[in-house]
Amino acid sequence: MAEVTLNSVWKSFGSVRVLEDLDLVVPAGSFTVLVGPSGCGKSTILRLIAGLEDGTSGEIRIGGVDVTTKEPSQRGIAMVFQSYALYPHMSVAENIGFGLTLARLPKAEIRKRVEEAARILQLENLLDRKPRHLSGGQRQRVAIGRAITRNPKVFLFDEPLSNLDAALRTQMRVELAELHAKIGATMIYVTHDQVEAMTMADRIIVLNEGRIEQVGSPMELYNRPETAFVAGFIGAPKMNLISGESASRRGCDLLGIRPEHVEVCQTGGEWEGRLRYVEHLGSDTIAYVDVAGVGPMTVRMPGEFNLNSGDLVQLNPQKAHEHLFRASRRIETEL
């Protein structure tokens, strides 16, 4: 377990500035997810921590030790790549044990640790196979196994689930969270998928254009987004962000209200609109409404509602769940 800190790190690729004076603390033992849209610099941060990329300036510490100029292998980290990056010519056992072989550990010790990792990840029967004979999920486990055996202080995951199908992704999410609970190491996980971030993290760092938008637990981000970007990024379906008349009436320039916090009513709603499309999910009904003067809005209702495209509906926001933003930053309301 080790804390990871970045102190005023800058990174440019040629003339393109990717990170600008970034300060970041990842607490020891946390499962921290870096999330943001493509090109926001999240993978660059991970690669800087791993030592696969040199920062233009700034300092990186792992467990209190300055590792800024250290080789990847001397940083006490292990990394799981998006492509898994398994060595195609080695068996599963050799892949998992490669780092230990390089460290010239005794053969018996290597075998013990490989078998231990295989047991945790249920790979015992596959140890002699080559990666090409494994399914996507199995390859993913081998890549994680390779990380585990090195006993790293920090695990780095670079979008590890993005090559898996939806069902497997859900399963691996649970497995990764369990793994974290079991071994307790610091884990830093990069994804652009906010669902992955919400379900796995105990701490989320939202990034946008090389800057940190907000740091907090999943529920903090959900309940109190500090910026309009976070408000729009976290949560599915996305938060309704409304400008114009409705916003200025509340003394802000942007009103945010989550789809689950908008009620459909017969009369007396704040907005009236026409149903464009309705999704019936069984547990929820999601309605897409075109509201005149506001634009498209999404409404999420628990259970099954008998609504049809083309119906006229009235919408009302739950006052307690309104988020107000001025110049894209949250402002407090006295309710």
């Binding site: 696969l52 292998s73 390089l102």
Partner: protein, 289 residues
């Protein structure tokens, strides 16, 4: 619909067969002629009989060829020079390519362009300067220290180790390997040489086969002018220089054919051994022979 396809196939096969014959006839001619006495060989060469094993056939030419020149020695010399150059060239070429593709250093693009530019320099333009250089270089061998590399194996090996084509082949191949593998190995604690040796090299079978065959053919078949310039002693001569033994007062065509047949065997054996990997590599890299 069916008829045009059959016709199409027929045309294709006739064409392919014709091309195959064009390539195989010289070899057939060589082998058949090596079995005929000179008079018959010259008489037959005006007709199709040149390709047919007919008439007075014997192994006399082979006996005579082996009597005239130390063929075994020449073949061993050529094989030693070729194999040593090939192995060193593959090793250094792949290392150079590794550094061009995977290491970050200033100016590597320019250096690579310069190396590739040496493609267009013909050997004839550097032959004399090269001769002057090797003639003045020191060497410590089993017979002690001496100045000048003439009359040795290493004078036929060292100038040919660094090879732009080998480097180019490896660079192209390495570029297509996933970078993640290199980074994963770095995170796993591999040194750069370990990345090369344990991750990249084991995945480079096809390009190794291609580069090996090309280098082997060039070294085995084309070593003629340079050895004539730098080797006077029979002990170090390669096969192509050995061919001179048969072009003296009376050109013995039958013996030449016998000699050529014998020296072709190692090339064919080497090619057949690596053929599968060679073809796979050409198919996958798009570098057409």
């Amino acid at each position: 619909m069916r008829r045009p396809r059959v016709a199409h196939l027929a045309v294709r096969y006739v064409l392919l067969a014709w091309v195959a014959l064009v390539f195989i006839f010289p070899i057939v001619f060589m082998i058949v002629s090596s079995l005929k006495p000179d008079l018959q060989l010259l008489r037959d060469s005006a007709s199709l009989r040149a390709f047919l094993p007919v008439g007075d056939l014997s192994l006399d030419n082979y006996r005579a060829a082996f009597d005239r020149a130390p063929i075994g020695r020449f073949i061993l010399n050529s094989l030693f020079i070729t194999a040593t150059t090939m192995v060193l060239s593959l090793f250094l070429g792949s290392l150079a390519a590794f550094s061009f593709v995977f290491l970050q250093w200033r100016g590597r693009t320019i250096v690579l362009s310069l190396i590739l530019a040496t493609f267009i320099v013909p050997f004839e333009t550097i032959a004399i300067p090269l001769l002057l250089i090797v003639n003045n270089l020191p060497w410590i061998g089993i017979d002690g220290f001496r100045i000048g590399w003439l009359n040795s194996y290493h004078v036929q090996i060292i100038p040919w180790i660094a090879d732009a084509l080998t480097i180019f082949l490896f660079v192209q191949y390495f570029k297509d390997l996933p970078r993640d593998l290199v980074e994963a190995a770095r995170v796993d604690g591999a040194t750069w040489f370990q990345v090369y040796r344990r991750v990249i090299l084991p995945l480079s079978g096809p390009v190794i086969a291609t580069a090996a065959i090309l280098k082997f053919l060039v070294m085995y078949n084309n070593q003629f002018i340079w050895p004539i310039m730098v080797v006077q002693e029979e002990n170090y001569r390669p096969i192509m220089v050995g061919l001179q033994y048969f072009f003296q007062l009376n050109t013995a065509w039958g013996e030449i054919m016998a000699y050529l047949t014998v020296i072709t065997v190692p090339v064919l054996a080497f090619y057949l051994a690596l053929q599968r990997a060679f073809i796979a590599s050409i198919a996958s890299t798009g570098i057409k022979g």
